[in-house]
């Protein structure tokens, strides 16, 4: 599953070795990043390993992973920091050992990374808010977030909230609940919100698990069609929901590109090439109408 050659010694075969330490592992988003990385690895003929903690709160676990990755003496390191401050000493260590670091998903507050491949989560969630405002117009809306403490989790709420406050005075965000991105718990949370606010017009779920949970809640309460659901990321359940009209649309990033670009940048760095400071992996709004467009279909993952 990982890179090429399971369990063999990375780098042993003489291929350049790129270690990626991400923010997560099991979520479809991260699996799509991994897929992009693997694609690039095959194309550019390098070894890639990909690891990440179980949840986006496990800062210390991630540091330990980073430490182990450095101990394996990679030729380049890709790193999606859960907390950029905490990793500063290791960034310095990497620099002193001449290992180029490529930041992905979110930046690291350090000069060490030679480039950053990321999505602007604030802008992406503002885009979600814009569509919510367009679709609902006025009334009450709510948010089911996936993580209260991680940067990504916070920005996806923040960008949305900010946009609504500044641009959609007729919309009122009545509640924001967090359910860890767990499908069932998100469904339960969304139901409770709907229960407390019978006149709710829309709900925004900030990642795949949250979004699917919201859809589930709407379905189970028989409110399909009466509520505007906006999601984030993709995955089959979400694309199905959009096709079935249960979900108005969602924001997707381009995780495959993110993984691909990260490895590509790493290889460039190993070869000593100059790199742009930021590579934007972009985000897209997709809904029933454009879901099958070539550009969109390419960035959606099952």
């Amino acid at each position: 599953a990982c890179g090429s050659g399971d369990g063999t010694e990375p780098g042993a075969g003489g291929k350049p070795y790129v270690a990626l330490v991400s923010k997560g592992f099991q979520h479809q988003f991260w699996q799509a990043v991994k897929q992009g990385a693997d694609d690039a690895a095959a194309e550019l003929d390098v070894e890639v390993t990909f690891e990440g903690p179980e949840t986006e709160t496990e800062v210390e676990k991630q540091l330990t992973m980073l430490q182990t990755a450095l101990d394996k003496n990679p030729d380049a390191l890709g790193y999606a920091a859960l907390d950029s401050e905490a990793s500063i000493p290791m960034m310095t260590d990497a620099e002193s050992r001449g290992i180029p670091v490529i930041a992905f998903d979110s930046g690291v507050e350090s000069d060490v990374p030679v480039t950053t491949v990321s999505t602007d989560n604030l802008a992406a969630s503002a885009e979600a808010a814009k569509h919510m405002a367009d679709l609902v117009g006025s009334g009450k809306i709510a948010i089911v977030g996936h993580d209260q403490t991680s940067q990504t989790g916070q920005q996806r709420v923040e960008g949305f909230t900010q946009y609504i406050e500044e641009n959609a005075p007729d919309l009122e965000i009545v509640d924001t609940q967090f359910a860890g991105g767990d499908h069932l718990k998100s469904a339960d949370a969304a139901k409770a919100i709907m229960q407390a606010h019978p006149d709710l017009k829309g709900i925004y779920g900030t990642n795949e698990g949250s979004a699917i949970g919201v859809v589930k809640a709407v379905q189970e309460s028989g409110m399909a069609g009466e509520l505007t659901v906006i999601g984030f990321d993709s995955g089959k359940a979400q694309t199905d929901a959009i096709r079935d009209g249960l979900m108005a649309g969602a924001i997707t990033q381009d995780p495959i590109k993110m993984g691909y670009e990260t490895v590509k940048a790493a290889v460039a760095a190993i070869e000593g090439e100059e790199l742009e400071p930021v590579v934007d992996s972009g985000f897209y709004w997709y809904d029933k109408d454009n879901i099958d467009d070539e550009e969109i279909a390419a960035v959606l993952y099952e």
Binding site: Q26, E54, F178, D188, Q195, P198, S221
Partner: protein
């Protein structure tokens, strides 16, 4: 002693009644929580919402039923959460990937649960591993295998006709099948615990394992049986979970074991073994789900919800202890 007649002719009901009273009173905590939220929020006491609470209880509740048996023996089962996930995934493999008939797939999911229980049981009984270790290991193995087997991707049941109706359908109009399954499972668990050898021996082993063995009960074998029973409930939880999400999510499951065990213990079952009731477990699971739901309905911020749940659990269990203390 002085004035009592021979004990044997006392009415059997006397202690029977006390126990019934106790079990009814066990509702008190739940009722209090219900009453509180009904007053605090006008939306709480609404059939839609109650249905939501019941639905939220179903999966953890079913797991907690199984965990009750293991805990009755004085053991613990940490593998219920990720084990449930593995059962979901395997159900997915059977139904979505291999296209087996619905019944076969569902039975297959249960069988995987039983297999997990079997391995736990063998490790505990024959390798004499502490249950904590045996099931912790199983928790990790199940988690890993779920990811490996599914290729770390969800398995969708969209093409399996009728599978989502297992949980979402309403055999009894207004009541989702998931809830019905939970109640049916609870009834079966209740009878099994109090009326069959499995339950009797589970409690005896929990009460005094050595004495039970010397009395001629094949403790090792029965322990395996008990873990298999627990595994069957895990499998059922996995199937219901998969049906409810209409997909098998391989990354889910971690943390559910604590919730399940908490439900059991809040229900008055002792982690030292020997004392357990299914009704208690059901109430415990309902208390947990009601609390979370009520606090969300009241729009209490997430961080305060945790604090509130913690405090209410202490109060509920303390009230229960006081109540039982008075009666004993």
């Amino acid at each position: 002693m002085t004035t009592t007649s021979t004990p044997s002719d006392r009415p059997a009901t006397r202690f029977g009644n006390r126990q019934q009273l106790q079990q009814i009173l066990a509702f008190a905590g739940l009722v209090a929580i219900f009453a509180f939220f009904s007053i605090a929020s006008p939306y709480f006491l609404d059939w839609g919402n109650v249905k939501g609470i019941l639905l939220a209880t179903a999966v953890t509740g079913i797991m907690a039923l199984g965990a009750t048996f293991v805990i009755a023996t004085g053991g613990i089962d940490l593998s219920v959460g990720t084990g449930m996930t593995l059962c979901s995934v395997m159900t997915g493999v059977f139904l979505a990937n291999l296209g087996l008939p619905l019944v076969v797939g569902v039975l297959g999911g249960l069988a995987i649960g039983a297999l997990i229980g079997l391995l736990n049981g063998l490790n505990v009984s024959y390798l004499r591993l502490p249950p904590f270790i045996a099931t912790l290991a199983m928790m990790m193995v199940a988690q890993g295998l779920s990811l490996v087997i599914s290729g770390t991707k969800p398995i969708y049941f969209s093409d399996v006709a009728g599978f989502d109706q297992l949980a979402a359908g309403e055999l009894i109009p207004g009541l989702p099948n998931a809830v019905l399954i939970f109640f049916a499972a609870a009834a079966i668990a209740g009878v099994t615990l109090s009326k069959t050898l499995i339950g009797r021996y589970a409690l005896s082993i929990g009460s005094n394992e050595e004495a039970t063995g010397i009395s001629g009960v094949d403790v090792r074998r029965w322990k395996v049986v008990i873990y298999v029973v627990a595994g069957l409930f895990t499998g059922l939880a996995g199937v219901v979970m998969a049906s409810r999400l209409n997909s098998a999510q391989p990354g889910l499951g971690l943390g559910y074991e604590l919730e399940a065990i908490a439900a059991v213990v809040i229900g008055g079952t002792s982690l030292r073994g020997g004392k357990a009731t299914i009704l208690g477990t059901v109430i415990g699971a309902l208390i947990m789900a009601t609390l979370t739901n009520g606090l969300r309905i009241m729009s209490i911020p997430q961080e305060w919800q945790k604090v509130a749940v913690g405090i209410v659990i202490v109060l509920a269990v303390y009230a229960d202890i006081l109540r039982r203390g008075k009666e004993a």
